[in-house]
Symmetry: none
Subunit: 419 residues, 2 copies
């Protein structure tokens, strides 16, 4: 089954509201083998709604809308779509009754405001989808050709409740047994460029994606490889995803740190825990970001002792014991300083693992020798120290995020013995 | 000028990615009087791209796309749109040259991966929009009827840079006079509940919004008050926004810390700089987040010395000098411990201001006396110490973010003398 989603609201076109409803619906529908083939956002205007929904109906015959069902005059979804189907509107007594009940149940005084009655206006021969989470009912409107538009309110909580309780069961009835699903599996990599990864994968002899889609999703955490299976049974989809993911994992090698929504900080904490290690961080340009990453994971406290934010060079010397000679001879951004910071924080906090970051996040502070984005990262695991220097891309925010990710990656690979 | 935005990517239709690019573009365009009349998301498939972009081009003759310009085989935007315009593609030598330069500047070894060369394929008679933020250039393609499609990459940082530096100037050249605009102004508050703020504003005698829309936008940073002017000249919009914002500022009083996208960390750094102070942070449950907030601001290094992440109690005693008696008598999450941490970090790092956070971010660790969300925050400014205890709402992430914001707010109000 193919469907289109039309989200309605001026705020979407002005960019004040981010369209989370459309994304949520797409995820839920995919879980049940229903493919969203296009998403559209239109304004709160009768013409725009009729044109956006009408075009979608022409293409797929199956449309879900969100928004524009409220009690105010800018809520035009129902009349615009009723006109598309050539229907009049009537006041639905059952809806009026339920609006009154809800008004009383909330302990409101006085009569139901007249504007609420607009929510009881229902297109002729439509099916009302009762809303247990708010005042605006959903509407299901179909025609003799079997085409339908399902209208849901725009408030995310109400939209989600109505979809799950009322709309989804109705749609699943339409599907003859729901034979196929859309399923995906993401392999997460870090420390390897998208183009290098792509070349490696294309070089696999007899590479067989078994009909799955492969997407490369680069970001500051690394490059995610997302495999998507469409039009298969759940069992077949899972089997193919597992087989192809194994091939990709082999190609990306030690750069793979997890799948799905795995966070590298959580992966590193688990590896430290398994090895009986306790970690401390020393941060210059990241200023606490690495510590924040590690402590964002619930239960970090058995492994993460803390750290020292040595933003100013004086703190690198006084709190981390970096020799002034090292700072002067090699500079604050050098592998020598990073190594001394890692060893220093390990000693200062009584940890078995110390990890350090020093770099130039920009926008200022770059030199020809050490341009913006230069970072030096070191880790000391029980006295064995490794370090590297890299030039990371992006603005200040991204350089800092990539630095923290690179530091986590170094610790992970040292624990695995692949650094 | 009316325009449509088409965002391209399977991840948008599967709901894995929320379409922040479309919202950002809509806001930026509205600022310049350009109205987004429809937004569409289509899959990474040649047919879907051609149909989505083609329909939009028919309706408005002006389209911006994002996504699908990367180096991999699922990047189909350029060939699909070139075909719409009946154009072939060619390898652009200048783009090849810039890809090679970028590869070398990043210090990468070996040759440029072959996959990257796909990014140098440009439709005939297109204008290349150079990308200073990544490898994928933008493309401007127009026809004899003056219709155009502008293609931007999907990575938000690159998309934003290219739009602002290359595309917007080109579009503004096309506009003759831009008579009315949509403009908004946001007043940022923290430390006051939305309902209290609303009551204060409704209580203003003779409150006159001058036809502007007022929205309350609560989040972990506080409550933003957003005023929006529509359908006015730029001058009139700015004058009304300034007048009404002044009224709102007076109502919210000391809780107002800025306007627009002002960040409280930047505001606090500026206040510290003006007062000749230097700050150090001591963090338990936030684990580095407060340090990361302060060091996210470029130029923080003259004011921010660093800090100590004392996640484990042992570190609170050894590195911050919190007495074991204090920890035992009052607990790690207590105003006494927070005050000792603030004074301790100030002494340890030689700062004039110390600020400390200790709390229970959850999901575990709560007790009837100290439920999840309990935080104690203290600041020591040249020996004058203030502290408070609060119960913050939200999940672990939100409690930690709110804690850092509350600590910044305490420092700001102490410097202003309104704490």
């Amino acid at each position: 089954m193919q469907i289109e989603v039309v989200t309605i609201g001026d705020e979407l076109l002005l960019g004040f509201t981010i369209d989370t409803n459309g994304a949520w619906l797409a995820r839920e529908l995919a879980q049940h083998g229903i493919t969203v083939v296009r998403r559209t956002s239109v304004a709160d205007q009768a013409d725009a709604i009729a044109s956006g929904v009408g075009d979608a109906l022409e293409r797929t015959g199956a449309v879900i809308t969100t928004g524009g069902l409220g009690p105010t005059s800018d809520d035009l979804t129902k009349p615009s779509i009723a006109r598309l189907f050539g229907r009049e509107m009537h006041i639905d007594d059952a809806v009026v009754e339920s609006l009154h009940r809800r008004w009383k149940a909330l302990g409101r005084s006085g009569d139901l405001p007249r504007s609420n009655l607009q929510q009881a206006l229902i297109p002729d021969r439509a099916i009302v989808l009762p809303n247990a989470h708010g005042t605006a009912p959903g509407i299901w409107l179909d025609d003799a050709r079997g085409r339908f538009v399902a209208m849901l309110p725009g408030v995310p909580r109400e939209m989600r409740g109505l979809f799950t309780e009322q709309l989804l069961p109705r749609m699943l009835q339409r599907l003859a047994g729901a034979p196929t699903v859309v399923r995906s599996l993401t392999v997460r990599t870090t420390g390897i460029a998208e183009s290098v990864l792509s070349d490696r994968i294309l070089a696999i002899e007899g590479l067989e994606l078994e009909g799955l889609d492969l997407a490369y999703l680069p970001g500051w955490e690394g490059v995610d490889l997302r495999l998507t299976a469409r039009g298969l049974s759940a069992e077949e989809a899972d089997a193919r995803l597992a087989r192809v993911a194994a091939v990709l994992r082999a190609a990306a090698g030690e750069h793979v740190y997890g799948t799905g929504t795995d966070d590298l900080a959580g992966v590193v904490l688990a590896a430290l825990r398994a090895a009986g290690e306790r970690i401390a961080v020393a941060e210059s340009c990241t200023g606490g970001l690495l510590g924040a990453r590690l402590t964002a994971i619930p239960g970090a406290s058995d492994v993460m002792l803390g750290g020292i934010i040595a933003y100013h060079n004086e703190v690198k010397a006084s709190a981390l014991g970096v020799c002034r000679e090292t700072l002067e001879a090699h500079g604050a951004v050098s592998q020598e300083t990073a190594r001394a910071m890692a060893t220093g924080v390990r000693a200062a906090l009584g940890a078995s693992v110390g990890v350090a970051i020093t770099g130039i996040a920009g926008p200022g502070g770059g030199t020809p020798d050490k341009p913006v984005g230069t970072v030096c990262i070191a880790a000391d695991i029980e006295g064995a120290v490794q370090s590297f220097r890299a030039i990371l891309i992006g603005d200040r925010h991204e350089v800092r995020q990539r630095s923290a990710q690179s530091a986590l990656s170094l610790v992970r690979r040292m624990l695995l013995g692949t650094a």
